[in-house]
């Protein structure tokens, strides 16, 4: 029986190794300065890069975090510090529901709210979609981190005559800060690779764009389009783009792990 279970584990490890292995094998050759700094060449020509997609992704993530981070942390604070029994459960439950909504559906909603309203595609619409997705992730983790702060610290602050709002921000939140930052980075890693919500909100762009009200290139989108194209050179670039994407995600996940293992409190005993 141990053999079966061990065998299952091995079978699961195989695709993992295969995927990472192929990413490196196929992508590493194309990772060069050109790739990281140039925009795509016209169809049919070889060369060019995904610089605009990388920057575009950054832009969209920025917009997403402006929406998702404050709402997520605020919700987490409410649930941890103020949430009364039944209402708190309702919010928590709703956040879990939101978490499970397929990202393509969120894309439809962002399309309906922003694209239809503005009558054009934009980075803003994509940011709204991703921001919505970030809220439940950040909220859940923030709540957990805040609940881990011992009640005695809050009581010490209240005992000093420090008002509730100041206590929550400067004592409770600050004590849990590295945990909350971890949660935010995790949500980044999660939404950075999302393609579906961007398909008909941000659409993609062959050129540089820094205007959030216009269509913008994004890394996962570019990979998606290139992978399905008939051009070998674009396939090659898709692998390179995928390698960059996974490197960025792995870096942020490792930072998360490092921060988590260092403990929630800074300057502990």
């Amino acid at each position: 029986m141990v053999g079966l279970a061990a065998g299952a584990t091995l079978m699961v490890l195989v695709p993992l190794v295969a995927i990472f292995g192929y990413l490196v094998y196929k992508g590493i050759g194309s990772l060069n300065w050109n790739f990281l700094t140039q925009i795509p060449k016209p169809v049919g020509e070889t060369g060019g890069g995904m610089a605009n997609a990388i920057v575009g992704s950054g832009m969209i993530l920025l917009i997403a975090s402006l929406i998702g981070v404050p709402m997520g942390i605020g919700t987490g604070i409410y649930l941890a510090e103020f949430g009364k029994k039944r209402f708190g459960y309702l919010i928590r439950f709703t956040a879990d529901v939101l978490n499970g909504v397929p990202s393509i559906v969120i894309g439809i909603v962002a399309w309906s709210l922003v694209v239809v309203y503005q009558k054009h595609f934009s980075a803003l619409a994509g940011g709204v979609a991703l921001g919505i997705m970030m809220v439940p992730i950040i909220s859940r983790s923030t709540e957990e981190m805040l609940l881990m702060v011992p009640q005695s610290l809050r009581e010490a602050a209240w005992g000093l005559g420090i008002p509730q709002w100041r206590t929550t921000l400067s004592i409770t939140l600050r004590t849990a800060s590295s945990g909350v930052i971890t949660a935010v980075m995790l949500s980044f890693a999660r939404v950075a690779g999302e393609t579906a919500p961007l398909l008909f909100t941000t659409l993609g762009n062959k050129f540089w764009n820094f205007n959030m009200n216009q269509e913008t290139a994004a890394l996962p989108l570019q990979i998606y389009v290139y992978a399905q194209s008939p051009y070998d050179d674009w396939h090659r670039q898709a692998w390179a783009g995928a390698l960059i994407l996974i490197i960025l995600i792995v870096i942020s996940m490792s930072l998360v792990r490092m921060a988590a293992s260092r403990g929630v409190f800074k300057g502990g005993n």
Partner: protein, 345 residues
């Protein structure tokens, strides 16, 4: 008795017996400073309402989602009614829309994913919680978690250029030769097929099914395990009866959560399933899922009815995944009592 207690009890100190505050700072004569005390009532109330607004925003988002889906699909809903879900035809040119092929594709690909993933997940979970040495445990769980961080588009890319050729070259001929009699493995071997989609979905849901299964297995009290061992069971029997059976509900929950994930998965499936709105018995045939048709055709939908039909598909997808996820959450919560506990210290 009381008189005797006087002595040690009543040793009132005339002098402190260790060095007190520094002699040059007599604490007695410090003048009291007057701090202006600003009332914090306004700030506290404002803060509380602000946080409440954030929490309400979560509710607002879900309400918005439902509202937009219902409104934007109105055209199609009025045009087709319930027939929409049982009609097999999907013809944008003539304006005839039916979602049956996509429902079929979603269900079959997800089911296939479950059939492949669940035994493996339970195996991995069992291995990491019960059987493997302590040191390996966190490494293995880290590795499985790593699978969960890979974006869908990368699964799709790998699927297109590694998995599909592999299927085409080795797996499909093998399956056709030895299992063709089942009728599931016939027809032209494109590679891009229900089979490919099912396999990639299986790989994608293994992390979540595994991690929840591990959680519920760990939640089974040691007393249960020991109780079974005490009556002379083997290790495997202990796992089967003492752990797995007890965690049954939770494991069902994990499976259903995995189902929920598979139902909504879009990009990897779109890249591998062939995208043809047909219902075929063979797993080698291309198919189409609810999520894939939206991904493929939304940005090119030329008229309002087309768009509305696609939004209605989105609405259907939303409702299906909502139901599945709620059922799954309830089952998992019943085992692990999902809310975080306040630290007492």
């Amino acid at each position: 008795m009381l008189k005797q207690m006087n002595g040690p009890l009543l040793k009132t100190k005339a002098q402190p017996n260790s060095a007190g505050p520094s002699p040059e700072e007599p604490a007695a004569l410090v003048p009291r400073r007057k701090f202006e005390h600003k009332s914090s009532r306004f700030a506290d109330a404002t803060f509380r309402y602000l946080m409440l607004a954030c929490a309400l925003s979560v509710l607002a988002i879900v309400v918005l989602i439902v509202r937009e889906l219902i409104l934007s699909s109105a055209l199609a809903r009025h045009a087709f009614g319930f027939k929409f879900f049982v009609t097999q035809v999907w013809d944008p040119v003539s304006g005839d829309f039916g979602a049956l092929p996509f429902i079929y594709g979603t269900l079959v690909s997800s089911l296939l994913a479950l059939i492949l993933a669940v035994p493996l997940s339970i195996g991995v979970a069992t291995f990491t919680t019960e059987l493997c040495p302590q040191r390996l445990r966190s490494l293995l769980s880290y590795v499985v978690e790593l699978l969960a961080t890979i974006p869908s588009v990368i699964y799709g890319l790998w699927g297109m250029y590694v998995l599909v050729p592999f299927l085409r070259q080795y797996v499909q001929p093998f399956l056709a030769k030895y299992f063709g009699w089942t009728g599931l493995f016939g027809g032209y071997q494109f590679g891009y097929s229900m089979l490919a989609a099912g396999i990639i979905l299986a790989i994608m849901i293994i992390p979540i099914v595994t991690s929840i299964t591990r959680e519920v297995m760990s939640a089974v009290p040691t007393a249960q395990r020991e109780g079974v061992l005490a009556i002379g069971a083997t290790r495997w029997e202990m796992i089967r009866v003492g752990v797995l059976r007890n965690a049954r509900t939770g494991i069902m929950g994990a499976i259903i959560l995995g189902l929920g994930r598979a139902l909504g998965e879009t990009i990897a499936v779109t890249m591998l399933i062939g995208n043809r709105p047909e219902i075929a018995k063979s797993l080698f045939a291309p198919g189409y899922t609810l999520a894939s048709v939206i991904a493929n055709e939304f940005s090119e939908a030329s008229d309002d009815l087309y768009l509305s039909a696609l939004v209605e598909i989105g609405l259907a997808l939303f409702l299906i995944t909502l139901l599945v996820n709620i059922v799954a959450q309830l089952m998992v919560w019943s085992i692990t009592r999902g809310s975080a506990q306040r630290a007492t210290a």
